[in-house]
Structures are given as C-alpha cells and as structure tokens.
C-alpha cells in the first residue's frame, strides 16, 4: 500500500516529528514498505479467531491501593528546564 506524502506530513505534525525535505521521500518509501507487510497480514483469513489484546499469554497483575511513592519533587525537578513555586514552567498554553 502506498502512503502519500501529505499523509506523512500530517503524521509528522501529529507526532511532533520534524521531517525535512531531504528525507521525506525516503521516509514515505520506507513506511509504504511497512504497510506492504501489513497488507500481507490483512490477507490472512482470521474468521473465528478472537482479536488479541497483547502478544503475551498472560494477564495484568493488580497492585494493592497503598501509597508507596513519597514526595520526591526536588529530585524529579532537578532535571526540569524551568520551575517556579513547585510548578513546571512551559511555553504558554491556552485552549
């Protein structure tokens, strides 16, 4: 299946990935070849096969509802580019 250039551009925008002009045709070709593999999988008859949520034959373990993580704000904010009054600062976002 061929993926169009404008679809790559849209995906890049959604994923916040910068793809420059030099590489966009290469990326388009490579993603198209991945989709060719998907096409092969799609051709398999899966009637009567239950969809799989996860490849491991195992189920989710559950955790008891007890506080185990205590305040480590200082350590965790040590790597933040900008903080103030305990808040992480980011470029202004308003919706």
């Amino acid at each position: 299946m061929h993926i169009e250039r404008h679809e790559i551009e849209k995906l890049a925008t959604l994923a916040r990935i910068a793809i420059n002009e030099d590489t966009i045709s290469d990326v388009t070709a490579r993603l198209s070849s991945v989709l060719d593999l998907v096409d092969q999988l799609q051709a398999i008859d899966t009637d009567g096969v239950a969809p799989m949520s996860h490849p491991m034959q195992s189920t989710q373990r559950l955790r008891e509802d007890e506080v185990t993580e205590l305040n480590q704000r200082e350590a965790l904010q040590a790597v933040a580019p900008d903080i103030e009054e305990g808040l992480f600062l980011v470029p202004k976002v308003i919706e």
Partner: protein, 486 residues
C-alpha cells in the same frame, strides 16, 4: 420554539476515591502542594512502567453492577495520543475497544413524577491529566504545570443521547452523583472536580429522523452551569439554523462566571488520536468469584434506600427521595433518627432548617456545625414538648453558633416550655381575671366571630408565661375556660 426538539447525551468523568493513582503508588489526596504527589511514573520518566491499581478496577466494576450493566471479564487498555503539557507521556492510557463496563441503564425521576430510562453506552477506566495554570505571577508567555492530578483514576461514563431537555440531563447527572457517592467510589466533591460533565447537544425539527450536528461542551462541574449551558446552546443552535446557518461539530468551553461559551476546537481540524493497544499493560481478567463478591458487598443504592425510608420510617416518597439520594444526608438522617426516635421531625428539620442554613453558608452536611447527635438532642426536646417550635429555632441557632448541646442551651437561656397543666391553668385563670374587659367583649361577640378574639388572649398568656407556655395546651385550656363563662 415548539417546532424543535433537543437531543442530549452526556460523558461523565468520575474521579475514583482510591488512595493512590491508577498506575502508580503516589497519593491522590486533593489540595497538596504542586507536584508533591507526582512520582516518576506520573511524570513519564523513561523506563517506568504502569502497574494497575486493583481498587480502581473494583470501583469500576461496582459502578457497572450498580447500573445493572454487563461487566467485561476481559478488558484492555489503549493509548490515546495527543500533545499537551499536562499529559507528560504524550498519550492518555484509556480503554476503547474493550471497556470494563458495557451497556447499562439509569432510571431518572422527573419533577412531574414521570420516570425515564437513560441508557448507558459503556463506562471505561482511564487516567486523569494534570492541571495547567495560566494565571499567577509567571513571566509573560509562560504556563505552570501541576501534575498531582496526573494519573488519578477516572471512569468515563458515556450515555446514549436519551435526554431531551436540561431537566432530564440534570436529573441524570444528579442520579449518577447519587449512585457513585452511595456506593462510595467517588467523594462527589464537584467543586474539586471529582465529577465533570461533557454535554453533547443537538437540535432537530420535531419529527425529523436524522440527528442534528452536535456540539460538545466540556468540563462542566456544577449542575447549575450545566443547566445554563444547555439552555444557551439550544438557543444558539436554533437561532443559527433559523438564520440559514449550519451548526459546526465542535468542542466548546463554558465559563460559569461570565456565562459565556466559546469554541475550543473544531472537529474538522481535529484530533486524530491514533489509538493503539497499550503494550505496557496486559489484558485485565475478572473472575466470576471477584464479580460476585463485589456484587454481594455492594452498598445500598439510592432507589433501594428511598424505598426503605418509606417502609421503615413512614416518610413520603418525595421526602424519602430527597434524603436518600444524598448519601451523606441519608446517613445524617439515620443517625439523628436512631438517637431521637422521631423520624418525621428529623426529616423535616434536616430538609428544612438544616438544609437551608447549610445551603446559605455553602457548607456540606458532613461538615455541619450541628451534628446529627446534636440535632437528635434538639428533636428529643421538641418531641417531649419541653420546647415549642419557636424556641427550637432559637436553640438550633445556639447549637449552630457553638453554644453547646440542646439541653445546655435550654438550661442557660431558660427556654423550658411550661407543659404542666396545673401551672398553665393558673396562668390562664390569672390572665382572664386581669382582663375582664376582653372577657366581656368575647362573651358579647357573635359566636361565629369569637374565634378571632382568641389571639388577644393568647398574646397575654404567652407574655405572662414569658413565652414558655405550651401553645397547644394553652389553646385547649383557654377554650375550656371561656366556654365555662358563656
């Protein structure tokens, strides 16, 4: 207006009352210092993995059982991808294909006595996002992010578009509030965002088969805002169409302070969330044993409690409904009734004087300055005729202001009602003797009009007793004594 009908569906976010986050062991306590309850998992530090909170899963199942829904024995988590600073992972872990709670039903009661069934499409588990703070003393062009709320467990309840006006939508929202607080899976504190409502509204010409284009107004956290917002949105859509325009499918935000809604984003440019199964979480399996155990231990539901209040305490359907739907008020009522033995008096005072004072001062009943035990003390004194209704209000005020229990206040303010019939007879006799002119006037008045003259005697008698005479008894004694003089 009559040629239009409204179609409303709700998406309701309910914060689950767990001690910790859905995928981490960080606390969910409200109101902590910013980012002191955001651990490495909540912050999406590289290498961290989610571990699902058992209590959150159980609470979701309890909700499903409460609305008689299908419970998925196998459910799974997906990633909903979008970028926003209050979502450190770049995706929200949520459920799409296999939600934990399937189709269910919620019955609502309407003001005219009708009931209506609202179908629940499904309810799924997901995580809450953090908070962005735009106000404050930040430098220009900067927002602050508090991630304490990030990872708080939510269930999102999605209704079918079964409501056709604001009244039904509010009744449904209140019923959900009643259910989740009654079964103890949510604290119900709307002002803290514990329940948030997204309202989908569309209009169509009466009888039209096709649904109109809907808008979604997000994050309403009060019933009053919901009502205002629906009224305005319905009017806006009808005006728009009647003026030849078309309704755009869009997300809107309603500002409860300014009463203005604005468009947040249009669905056309929207959001392609690129959902896919979350590889970090395995399928969640529920056994029949677990589901049955949760069913057995499910607390009393509001409808059952209402029926019990009617049967056990002899309350009217209406009164029982008001008391039973608010689980905190129901608990208060039952404690005060058990202590005083006077269900009807407790019901009247709880829904009357107490509710009015709590509302006017915006205090929740769990923090009432008059405790259920104290109200019971007051009711006991009303029931045994120690104090009159008027005195009771004074005593109530005293308890509210922290002056002590009913008996202390009755004692210190000398409010004891005189119900001793010998003492009352004497007071009445004295008043009649001292007011011969009034007595003559009474005797000479036409029988049909005599009743109007009684008030004058009552006033004198209450004055003579310093307001402490039992009015019902005085009435009887006065009527008897006057009839003897005729």
């Amino acid at each position: 207006m009559s040629s239009w009908e409204t179609v409303i569906g709700l998406e309701v976010h309910v914060q689950l009352a767990t001690k910790t986050k859905i995928f981490s062991g960080a606390s969910t306590t409200f109101g902590a210092e910013p980012n002191t309850q955001a651990c490495a998992i909540d912050l999406a530090m590289p290498g961290t993995l989610p571990v699902l909170n058992k209590q959150a899963v159980h609470y979701a199942v309890m909700f499903g059982l409460a609305i008689d829904a299908e419970i998925a024995k196998e459910s799974a988590f997906e990633r909903k991808n979008y970028f926003y600073p209050d979502l450190p992972k770049g995706y929200q872990t949520t459920q799409l294909e296999k939600p934990i709670v399937g189709r269910g039903n919620v019955e609502i009661q309407l003001a005219d006595g009708r009931t209506k069934n609202v179908r629940i499409h499904h309810a799924h588990l997901e995580e809450d996002a953090g908070k962005s703070l735009h106000e404050g003393d930040f430098r220009h062009g900067v927002s602050g992010i508090d991630l304490n709320r990030a990872g708080t467990p939510l269930i999102e309840i999605v209704s079918e578009p079964d409501m056709s006006n604001a009244e039904e939508a509010i009744a449904f929202a209140k019923k959900l509030h009643s259910i989740v607080t009654s079964i103890g899976i949510c604290d119900g504190e709307m002002s803290q965002g514990s329940m948030r409502f997204d309202v989908n509204v569309s209009v169509r010409r009466t009888g039209a088969a096709e649904l109109g284009t809907r808008t979604e107004t997000k994050n309403l956290n009060s019933f009053k805002f919901m009502e205002e917002c629906i009224a305005k949105e319905v009017e806006r859509q009808i005006d728009l169409i009647e003026d030849g325009g078309t309704v755009l499918q869009e997300t809107r935000l309603y500002n409860g302070d300014t009463k203005v809604a604005r468009s947040m984003r249009s669905k056309e440019e929207a959001n392609d969330y690129r959902y896919f199964p979350c590889p970090d979480l395995l399928p969640v399996i529920l056994t029949d044993e677990t589901i049955e155990e949760l069913r057995r231990n499910l607390p009393e539901l509001p409808d059952a409690r209402q029926a019990r209040f009617v049967a056990q305490y002899g309350l009217s359907d209406y009164d029982a409904g008001i008391l039973a739907y608010d689980s905190a008020m129901a608990a208060y009522f039952e404690v005060a009734t058990a202590r005083s033995g006077s269900a009807k008096l407790v019901a009247n005072w709880t829904m009357g004087e107490l509710a009015a004072r709590l509302n006017s001062e915006d205090i929740s009943i769990v923090k009432s300055p008059v405790t259920a035990e104290q109200l019971a003390g007051l009711i006991t004194r009303i029931a045994d005729n120690s104090i009159s209704g008027k005195m009771a209000k004074e005593v109530f005020e005293g308890i509210w202001d922290g002056e002590g229990n009913a008996d202390d206040i009755i004692e210190t303010r000398d409010l004891k009602q005189v119900s001793d019939s010998g003492a009352l007879e004497q007071i009445v006799a004295e008043v009649l003797a001292a007011n011969q002119a009034m007595v003559d006037d009474y005797i000479n008045t036409d029988e049909a009009k005599r009743k109007k003259k009684l008030g004058g005697f009552m006033g004198q008698i209450m004055k003579a007793s310093k307001g402490q005479a039992n009015p019902q008894q005085v009435n009887q004694i006065l009527a008897k004594k006057l009839s003897e003089l005729l």
